[in-house]
């Protein structure tokens, strides 16, 4: 199935992309999508290896990585600095 990933901040710099469409197996979770992105874009893992360093919106809503994806879902991927 096809989903859209929008990159923000550090992710945009690392991937050189603002937005991509990506094919992924049906029933995949966001965690599995992240693994795919780590393999496709060197440098992504530097941020994604620590969950607290980034956040994900699924169709605009803040979720954690266990959520399952559906056809045409839109993911926003962005780094977050904790503290304060």
């Amino acid at each position: 199935m096809k989903i859209t990933v929008k990159f923000f901040f550090d992710f945009q710099e690392i991937t050189g992309e603002k937005e991509i469409e990506i094919e992924i197996k049906k029933e995949s979770t966001i965690k599995e999508l992240i693994k795919l992105l780590e393999a496709s874009f060197p440098g992504v893992k530097e941020i994604t290896e620590h969950h607290e360093d980034y956040s994900v919106l699924l169709n605009g809503i803040h979720v954690n990585l266990t959520k399952k994806l559906k056809e045409n879902d839109v993911i926003d991927l962005f780094s977050v600095i904790d503290g304060g």
């Binding site: 956040s55 605009g60 962005f78 904790d82």
Partner: protein, 624 residues
């Protein structure tokens, strides 16, 4: 007793009496230090009848065993008293005052009574002086630093109150390190200091903190410092405001007095740490033994807010003075922040009070005659700055707002209480329970009121396998949050007792934190015992409030934070505090009414508290 200086300084300002007392090792082993030790003292030395501003209230400044060692991010201290809100009060702060107090030979200072005239304390290795302070009464915290240094020692470190503390505003806090403005004591502990006519405490000393295993401490220092520097480099680069854009995107950062789920992306970016780094940032500040340097140093050279020069806004100020008031001018935020520092105000509460007043103004509950001509419209940066002056000076409507939004709403009337966002009288920090649901149980249960320092929001963002929290929990999931918050409150509380900075909490793992303590003190504590110490202190703080009559009825989330947002990353969710509280109370061994039960208290060695519970109305003690 390694890690400790072994001495507490007791000062009675009414009697002008100074006593140096030994710190008993058994007490240290049960509570460690900081706010943990403070919980024991405050419970024992005040009663339910103690008036916050009465002579009998006890104001404590307490360090911990790691303070003054080489261990990274360990240079903090706690301030503890019955708060101006009339409940348990504590503050946790960096800077270098705590380290310097230990180098003067003391683990803490405990102050009772009330001086007839304004005074300050001057504490050295050799002497303790109670000095006249009439000449600095009325001075702001930046001015006080310079004057007291010139009267004591150029390397003296000063903690003090500003005019807001002198005038006993419920949002007055206590500042150390001059223009770098490290603040302690949300809930008005600055007002408690002011009520005692105590303007400042200056400390200086050169003693060393001895550790039990110097070689191990050296290698732990090296190893953990390297890890912290690597993991927190972005926090160093952009400070806590570096989180502004990301936190706004998930709906965590409040907008327009907690009424909107998102703001304009370009406006948010303008008040971020990234833009600060490109514009007004002139340096980075580190507390004693810090290897992160999250503190901001800023200067504003031009425009209507020119003159700002010193400690810069943190994430909280960008929220309270910025997005909460719809102000996207970073220089105005820097000015509002500096004024809070100078007046000795809590920037979270002060900004929240201005945002609340803006909403009252919009709704016609107050008008231009109430504000003495200030057009208190959303986004009016000049008005925000003028309001901070009024709150700091306790002038006009600023006097009422300085009481906090709870009391202000009661006085203003109408439906103002519907959008007065507070828990137990304390305005929440800039994190929304609708974005990170664990705040839906953490805010209601923290003993000083809505607090993000007594727990933390890593439950949604970080796993803690050491505590059985194997995966971050979804922001909207309720199951597991009550237990997770209870565990993390106990663990965060340990940081507030050891006096470690919470910015290393997710970097230096729990087994290493235990090594920090054991290698410094020479104790041989097991991890289970360490967690029990955290749990013990938390229960004493809870019991402090229970003795005052607080229970489940007070463990609430503000109405507005229960209303669903319609936009942004936190849209269409409201945390179910009731579900999370049940799990939380049950896990803690508390009753359905949120009262710690006797078996739990006795297991923690709290027999005095257990006896108190055994005399309570049984209807309050129904078990799960």
């Amino acid at each position: 007793m390694k890690g400790y200086m072994g001495k507490l300084l007791r000062v009675d300002l009414t009697k002008r009496e100074i006593i140096i007392q030994d710190l008993p090792e058994n007490l240290a082993k049960q509570y460690i230090g900081g706010s943990g030790l403070g919980s024991r003292f405050l419970f024992d030395e005040t009663t339910e009848k103690t008036e916050p501003f009465g002579e009998e209230n006890v104001l404590m400044f307490l360090t911990g065993p790691l303070v003054g060692t080489t261990l990274p991010c360990s240079g903090r201290h706690a301030v503890v008293a019955k708060s101006a809100l009339g409940i348990w009060g504590e503050g946790d702060v960096g800077g270098s005052w705590g380290v310097t107090l230990k180098r003067a030979g003391y683990d803490g200072i405990i102050i009772k009574g009330k001086s007839k005239k304004p005074v300050y304390l001057w504490v050295t290795e050799e002497n303790i002086f109670i000095r006249e302070a009439s000449h600095i009464w009325g001075k702001d915290t930046y001015e006080v630093e310079g004057i007291i240094k010139s009267e004591t020692h150029e390397k003296a470190v000063i903690t003090c109150i500003g005019p807001a503390g002198e005038k006993m505003s419920k949002m007055a806090v206590i500042f150390n390190n001059g223009v770098h403005a490290r603040a302690a004591g949300r809930g008005g502990l600055g007002a408690i200091m002011g009520s005692k006519n105590l303007k400042a405490i200056a400390v200086y000393g050169r003693k060393r903190v001895e550790v039990a295993f110097p070689d191990q401490v050296r290698s732990l220092t090296k190893e953990s410092a390297a890890k912290i520097i690597e993991r927190q480099k972005r926090l160093r680069e952009f400070g806590t405001p570096g989180g502004v854009v990301g936190k706004h995107k998930i709906g965590d950062m409040p907008v327009k007095n907690w009424s909107l789920g998102r703001w304009d992306d370009d406006k948010i970016k303008k008040i971020s740490g990234q833009v600060m780094a490109e514009t007004i940032l002139t340096g980075r500040y580190s507390c004693a033994s810090c290897v992160i340097s999250c503190g901001r140093v800023v200067k504003v050279n031009d425009g209507p807010f020119a003159g700002v020069d010193g400690g810069g806004p943190e994430y909280e100020a960008c929220g309270s003075l910025g997005s909460m008031c719809l102000i996207d001018d970073l220089k105005a935020i820097a000015m509002g922040n500096e004024l809070c520092n100078r007046y000795g105000l809590d920037v979270i509460s002060a900004g929240a009070a201005v945002a609340f007043a803006m909403e009252c103004y919009e709704k016609g509950l107050i008008n231009k005659s109430d504000t003495e001509g200030i057009e208190l419209e959303w986004g009016n940066a000049k008005a925000m700055v003028e309001m901070i002056h009024k709150i700091g000076k306790r002038e006009g409507i600023g006097e009422l707002l300085g009481e906090g939004v709870k009391i202000a709403a009661q006085k203003i009337g109408g439906n103002a209480s519907d959008f007065a966002v507070e828990v137990k009288g304390l305005e929440p920090p800039m994190h929304d329970a609708r974005a990170l649901g664990s705040f839906g149980v953490a805010y209601p249960t923290y003993p000083r009121g809505a607090c993000h320092r007594g727990c933390n929001h890593y439950i949604e963002r970080n796993a803690f396998p050491e505590f059985g929290l194997d995966d971050p929990i979804d922001p909207r999931e309720h199951k597991g949050k009550g237990i997770g918050v209870a565990i993390m409150q106990d663990y965060s509380g340990l940081f507030n007792s050891l006096k470690l900075c919470q910015f290393i909490l997710n970097v230096v793992r729990p087994p290493q934190i235990l090594e920090f303590l054991n290698y410094v003190t020479g104790w041989n504590l097991e991890f289970e015992e360490l967690m029990k110490i955290g749990e013990r202190a938390f229960n004493v703080k809870r019991m402090y409030n229970v003795r005052l009559g607080l229970s489940k009825k007070d463990d609430t989330l503000p109405k507005r934070m229960r209303e669903k947002l319609t936009e942004g990353g936190a849209a269409n969710y409201s945390p179910d505090t009731e579900i999370m509280l049940k799990e939380y109370y049950k896990y803690r061994g508390w009753s359905k009414q949120g009262i710690p039960l006797s078996p739990k208290l006795r297991k923690l060695g709290l027999s005095k508290e257990a006896e108190m519970i055994e005399k309570m109305d049984p209807s309050m003690l129904e078990e799960f």
